[in-house]
Homo-oligomer: 352 residues x 2
């Protein structure tokens, strides 16, 4: 195991015994064929010395308190404009740690591979994960690979779990949200959901809409480091901005008023949503979040967020109020309020 992992990866030597460049059940069996897969694609792809110790787990030198989070990724299709399931699996968990006010540090990777998956697909995904990890400044330190029969998965599913030390001494979460607080959105919404939907259904819009998938930890940590007391952070994934705001209002026992005209939606995204019958407020994002801060801190928070490209277009989109607990309203362009709720189900399944 003293070979350079990068060299191994460049060789892209076949991981199968019989020259068939597809995942076989034996790749999940714990024997030689699985070892070969790990040695030729997984370990060199993730390029981390801890994985090369071939032990049951990784040892981390972190000291607490820590945030700990997990997500599984089942997006379909696996590749879409602006990202793929690998990018998503790293950024999604990095962003969940950031939403806890933590500095993302180490990720685990659980792969569930379908028999018949082209090894080249796995290579591309592993490579995306490493690039995303490098970009977000996290390490992929421990992992697991399982194989299920053909027809029992959809190419591959990925789970990542992540840990990171808290960067803030304050409790960041719905419990800290108070009437009078300001709600800041980090940028335009709706691109991830529309990008995946368009790729899945083969829609050809005039422009290619790319997912907003990106790590937001640096932006969030920059905000925390200014010393501003951040009350709550939430990324706008499944269920979109609407679900995030409603869930916070319900958990915190406050009402929230949004200013719909202030919420940025790109023209091409809005047009696509109209064609598809989607409300941008409910469409998933993978690089967007809201930050809730005290009213007096809003301007400094906007300044801090706008220093990072991922949140360069941060804007105030609403206020927290002491009205009916859990009620979220949005004032439309004509000055009329409408009630915003979570959807019952999902307009875009398997978006992440």
């Amino acid at each position: 195991m003293n070979k350079s992992p990068a060299e191994d990866f460049a060789l892209t030597c076949p991981a199968s015994e019989n020259g068939d460049d597809r995942i076989q059940m034996a790749h999940g069996g714990g024997g030689r064929t699985m070892e070969r897969l790990l040695d030729t694609i997984i370990r060199p792809g993730f390029d981390n010395p801890q994985l090369n110790e071939r032990h049951d787990g990784a040892i981390l030198g972190l000291s607490g308190p820590l945030a700990f989070t997990t997500d599984s990724y089942v997006v379909q299709p696996l590749f879409f404009p602006g990202g793929d399931i690998g990018t998503l699996a790293v950024n999604g968990t990095v962003n969940d740690l950031a939403m806890c006010g933590a500095r993302p540090s180490d990720l685990s990777v659980g792969l569930i591979l379908e028999e018949g998956l082209p090894l080249e697909t796995l290579r591309r995904v592993v490579d995306s994960m490493r690039r995303a990890a490098d970009a977000a400044g996290v390490r992929l330190v421990t992992g697991d690979t399982k194989v299920v029969d053909h027809g029992k998965a959809d190419g591959l599913y990925i789970n990542t779990a992540g840990v990171g030390p808290l960067a803030s001494g304050h409790v960041i979460g719905p419990a800290s949200v108070q009437p009078g607080d300001t709600i800041i959105l980090s940028g335009d919404i709706g691109r991830h959901g529309v990008a995946v939907m368009a790729a899945r259904e083969g829609f050809g819009f005039e422009t290619v809409i790319e997912s907003d998938c990106a790590p937001v930890a640096a932006s969030v940590l920059g905000l925390i480091e200014t010393g501003i007391v951040v009350h709550c952070l939430r990324d706008l994934t499944r269920g979109g901005l609407a679900s995030a705001v409603v869930e916070i209002a319900e958990t915190a026992g406050v009402s929230i008023n949004l200013d719909e005209a202030a919420i940025p939606v790109r023209d091409d995204v809005r047009a696509a949503c109209e064609i598809l019958g989607l409300d941008p407020l409910h469409v998933a994002n993978e690089g967007r979040f809201i930050a809730i801060v005290g009213d007096g801190d809003a301007d400094s928070a906007l300044d801090a967020l706008r220093h990072h490209s991922v949140s360069a277009d941060a804007v105030v989109i609403g206020r927290v109020d002491g009205g009916q607990p859990g009620e979220v309203t949005s004032r439309g362009p004509l000055g009329v309020d409408r009630v915003i709720d979570m959807l019952s189900g999902e307009q875009l399944p398997r978006i992440c």
Copy 2:
């Protein structure tokens, strides 16, 4: 969220909107239907206040150094004598932490559910996970639920990741293994693999063979607390005892000699293996491990392990030598050595 989760769980109110007691795509959508699933089955089932905060992750008060590990579970069938996918998903990750010399503390849970899965099945699995977590003394602190289309999973898949503080100041792993060391096995082997195989294929052996699935952390921590320097620990899951020993010999650059007559295999398990054409050395276990210690520590290590029911039958099964690096031999009952290797693939796929 101030209701008693236990009350909610007892009510087993339907998590679906239309009275259909099966998982629907909407249960993974991030909207009201998903919230209802989380509120009626997942959160009360896991019974942990941290999950009720409805935040993106859990905050842990641990301080390092920590072990961090993950495994996905795709066992088929979901239920088998002696356990189910839920028991396995907790004990497997608890045991991986123990193999790092860590005290298992907190687990994440990622569920991938197939559309059409009976909610009752999910309830049973969640309940198993909670019982297993209670038995192992760990908390299920953060989680994620995804739903995939009917036919794109096999009922459900589970990923767990776990963290725990190191209980030993020594490096426990293949790097610490030296010629002269003694190899101790914690008990009889082969039961998990045979139990799952029999359940899957519907074989009716004379006796029902139950999986050995169990948490081994208390036994391992007891060993470490005696002050004995444990060189390496390894649980005997996929690939069985053979794969574990070969992998350690290869990574440590040592040879290993096993005494086959000393390796406990129950008569019914041996008979089942003969019928199925399996070698017990390659069959997966989920509550068995080897501990490698210095020769002078073997007797005290056996004493310590035998204090715990999960390792009451611990025995010495072999020695580490300075022969051909990576070579594992086993002396049979007639005094003849055979070479032990990993299998190429897997005799029992989807065993965990």
